[in-house]
């Protein structure tokens, strides 16, 4: 049995009487292209928060490459390669794009604790950051403050920062959310071109995106997994149709 | 044993009176901070203005105590309306630092203005004979003025609580403190709500400042000198609550009185330590929102 990239066992979380996660047993295989879908309020973002350590579970275990990370703080999970992006762009607003990315790279390399040497001397890290921006087509804006970029490019920047951490497991929380349809192409392209050794889980509402990007889908409803499987099977599943009735028809 | 009981009653009485003053002054601050999310460091200035208003109306215009008190409160309420419209409104939802700077600026202005008009000496307050002297309860004598303070406090606290629970205005305030966007979307005029709440809070502060001149002398440095105490009551009680500051004021008032009686060398040190401990245990305050 190959080790899953990410696994949860019996993950539970309630806010008082409100359950946001009920006994979730989830597996994300290495190199997976996995999608998590479900109606609004299903608990998808809460799941990501639980897995990354931003939220403490009431019960259950979380395993990363076989290691139990349930009690590790968020930063420690990031160091082990578990990285997320945010539904609403969470960037270092007034800092430049290159600065945003190099911050992440510095943290990864452990350079960020240096109090004396100027950051500019860490040339390799800056060049790595620039190369990352080039790969994402963002190089032209490298020196601009991120809050001046078009929102679509901000979403790309968000992913760039996460990629700077060299993730093994990448959790993409609605990467195209709020992006005008003309700009989503770049984001989709970028996700498609992600290296095969990164396992990603994408939370999305846009079914077209989901079917294009994922080869496995998990459906979450009210904190529990309803069904899991290949895209065609999910599309044909009667329960899923019922859940989405009136919301969206899978194409 | 009789001494201990006597001391305890004394501490409870004077502590309660101080608590009422602190509560009256701080409750407005708690609600406006919880409602508008605005760090109003200058709130003490309204209390000070109440004190100066009372002494001036009594001393210069020779108005009787009750009338002067009402007059002082009205003046402060009107002034706070104007200030809210002109200044505070601009910084709602703004940078915390801007709010700190602006309200510190207001405090400084009040220090300068108060020194200019009234000089540095503490203003004397002369309550009417009716509430001066001692009153006899059981086997003990209690200062009448402080008894009056406690009575006032209880009446106002009850009024506030009833007002918050039973009136439509109170319901709107509670809704807005809980979730401002939601309150706006169901049609509550939050702009008007802010103005009214601000005015009410300032009026209560003026009342507390005027009545409490016994505990907190009316001097130009009032707003700055007492800032920490008011903020302690608010922070410990919890923002946006009217119950919270009451409990906090009781705690602080009795503790302060007790320590001054039992261990005056330690002064306010333990109040601060207590505050720090409570805030570490409950960062949002005892009754703050999660």
């Amino acid at each position: 049995m190959t080790q899953a990239g990410l696994e949860t066992q019996g993950l539970c979380k309630s806010f008082g009487a409100l359950p946001v996660a009920s006994d979730i047993n989830f597996r994300l295989e290495s190199g997976a292209r996995h999608a998590l879908i479900g109606p609004n309020g299903a608990g998808k973002t809460s799941f990501v928060n639980l897995v990354t350590g931003m939220l403490k579970p009431s019960a259950g275990r979380i395993l990363l490459s076989g290691e139990d990370i349930t009690h590790l703080p968020q930063a420690a999970r990031v160091k082990r390669g578990l990285v997320r992006t945010f539904q609403i762009s969470a960037l270092f607003r007034r800092l430049s794009l290159i600065e945003n990315v190099t911050l992440a790279i510095s943290e990864r390399e452990g350079a960020a604790g240096d109090l004396i040497r100027p950051a500019g001397r860490y040339r390799k890290l800056i060049e790595e950051g620039y190369a990352l921006l080039e790969a994402l087509g963002l190089a032209a804006d490298a020196l601009r403050p991120v809050n001046e970029l078009a929102y679509g490019r901000q979403r790309l920047a968000d992913i760039a920062v996460s990629l700077g951490l060299k993730p093994k497991v990448l959790l993409l929380d609605e990467p195209a959310a709020g992006v005008p349809s003309g700009e989503t192409g770049a984001i989709i392209d970028m996700i498609e071109r992600l290296p095969a050794d990164i396992a990603f889980l994408i939370i999305e509402h846009d079914m077209e995106l989901v079917f294009r990007l994922a080869n496995r889908i998990t459906v979450l409803v009210q904190g529990s997994i309803l069904v899991e499987g290949a895209p065609q099977d999910i599309a044909a599943d009667a329960q899923v149709r019922q859940v989405y009735l009136g919301e969206r028809r899978p194409r | 044993m009789g001494d201990l009981l006597s001391a305890a009653i004394s501490i409870a009485f004077h502590g309660l009176a101080l608590a009422m003053v602190l509560y009256l002054i701080s409750v407005g601050l708690s609600v406006t901070m919880g409602l508008m999310g605005f760090v109003n460091l200058a709130h003490g200035a309204f209390a000070m203005a109440g004190g100066y208003g009372l002494t001036t109306l009594m001393g210069r215009l020779h108005l009787p105590f009750g009338l002067a008190l009402i007059g002082a409160i009205v003046i402060v309420v009107l002034a706070s309306f104007v200030l809210e419209r002109l200044l505070y409104r601009r910084l709602y939802g703004g940078d915390e630092l801007d709010q700190v700077l602006m309200t510190m600026g207001l405090i400084f202005m009040t220090v300068g203005a108060a020194t200019y008009f009234w000089g540095p000496v503490a203003q004397p307050i002369h309550p009417p004979d009716l509430i001066s002297g001692q009153i006899h309860l059981g086997s003990r004598d209690f200062p009448a003025y402080r008894s009056f303070l406690i009575l006032c406090g209880v009446v106002l606290v009850t009024g506030l609580w009833l007002g918050l629970e039973r009136t439509r205005f109170g319901a709107q305030v509670r809704a807005a403190v809980d979730n401002l966007r939601m309150a706006q979307s169901i049609g509550i005029n939050t702009s008007r709500l802010f103005a009214l709440t601000f005015a009410l809070g300032s009026g209560l502060a003026a009342l507390g400042g005027a009545l409490g001149a016994d505990f907190l002398p009316i001097v130009p440095g009032y707003a700055l000198g007492n800032l920490v105490y008011f903020l302690i009551v608010v922070a410990v009680g919890g923002l946006g609550s009217i119950r919270g500051p009451f409990v906090a004021a009781l705690l602080i008032g009795t503790a302060d009185t007790a320590f001054k009686y039992i261990a005056p060398e330690l002064g306010a040190f333990f109040i601060y330590a207590l505050t720090m401990a409570i805030l570490l245990w409950r960062p949002r305050g005892l009754f703050g929102h999660a």
Binding site: M54, Q74, A75, V78, R84, F86, A90, L91, F92, R93, R94, L95, I98, E99, L103, S106, E107, R108, A111, A112, D114, L115, A119, G120, R123, E127, Y130, E134, A140, L143, V161, G164 | V39, R90, E96, L97, D98, V100, L101, M102, M104, G105, I107, F108, M109, V111, G112, T115, Y116, L224, L227, V228, L231, I232, E265, F269, A273, M276, L279, L280
Partner: protein
Amino acid sequence: MAAADQLAPPAMLDGFARRHRLRAFEALPWLMALAAYFVFPDYLALGAQILATILFALSLDLVLGYAGIVTLGHAAFFGTGAYTAGILAANGWGEPISGLVVAAAAAGAVGFLSGAIILRTTGLTLLMQTLVVAAMLLELANKATRITGGADGLQGMDVWPIFGAFRFDLFGRTAYIYCAAVLMIGWLLVRSIVYSPFGRSLTGIRENVVRMHAVGSPVRRRKLVAYTISAALAGISGALIAQTAQFVGLGALGLERSGTVLIMLIIGGVGQLYGAFIGVTLYMIAQDRFSTIDPVYWYFWIGLFMIFVVIFARGGVLGLIERARRQMRRPS
């Protein structure tokens, strides 16, 4: 934008990688300080105070402008440093430089301990805690009359000549040069921290702390380190004032001290290193002028000015300069 794409990566990155290099205008404050020594020989005592207070404001900028920690209790560290240096000098050890070192250590320790306890909170609660820490220290100093002099202040300080040779003279010449030298060292330290990867991570914490956690940054540790260093520097600043005035009063720990340094920094411009230089100089010169005219007016007018700054000149003097530069760059 095709033209920008063709900008060779090395050239574009060079500017970014060389941000830390000293630029011509950075010599300006030092040239001005040097000039002031000769042009205003009667005001060197005030000048020394200004220089020491700039160090205080710089220390505050490190936590406020760069790490985003809003504090109204920075006088706690200033005052600790002041009283430490003062108590040493009043009890037989008046050597100034070692006094500075001990003051820095004491203030740094207070910063470390209080930071470890309170930096887990943010926002209003943190603001409160910073107030409370300073208030506690003030109360301690007030009550420990035998050590601190209580409300009368610490008397009997005897500060020895620097290096055994340079006596603190009545004109403030020694004090001025002393403060300038210490400020220069402090400024170099803060400057290198600000441009270091650590300093950059502080700005990350300020801009989006949630994201900093999400990139694996040990946020609490970083904040604590910044807070401790800032406290030590503030302590040095307090010790400088104590040594040059040969007196320490309760005001060194007071809310007004914490408030005014914050105001000075905001007037100059937060988070841009030189805001401290500009804001402190403007404020203290203005205050000095006003106190000769009428001290009562000072509070009123500075209060009005502060409100003016908030409404019309957000970002302080440096902010205004920045906006003016952008206006000039725009083609008409």
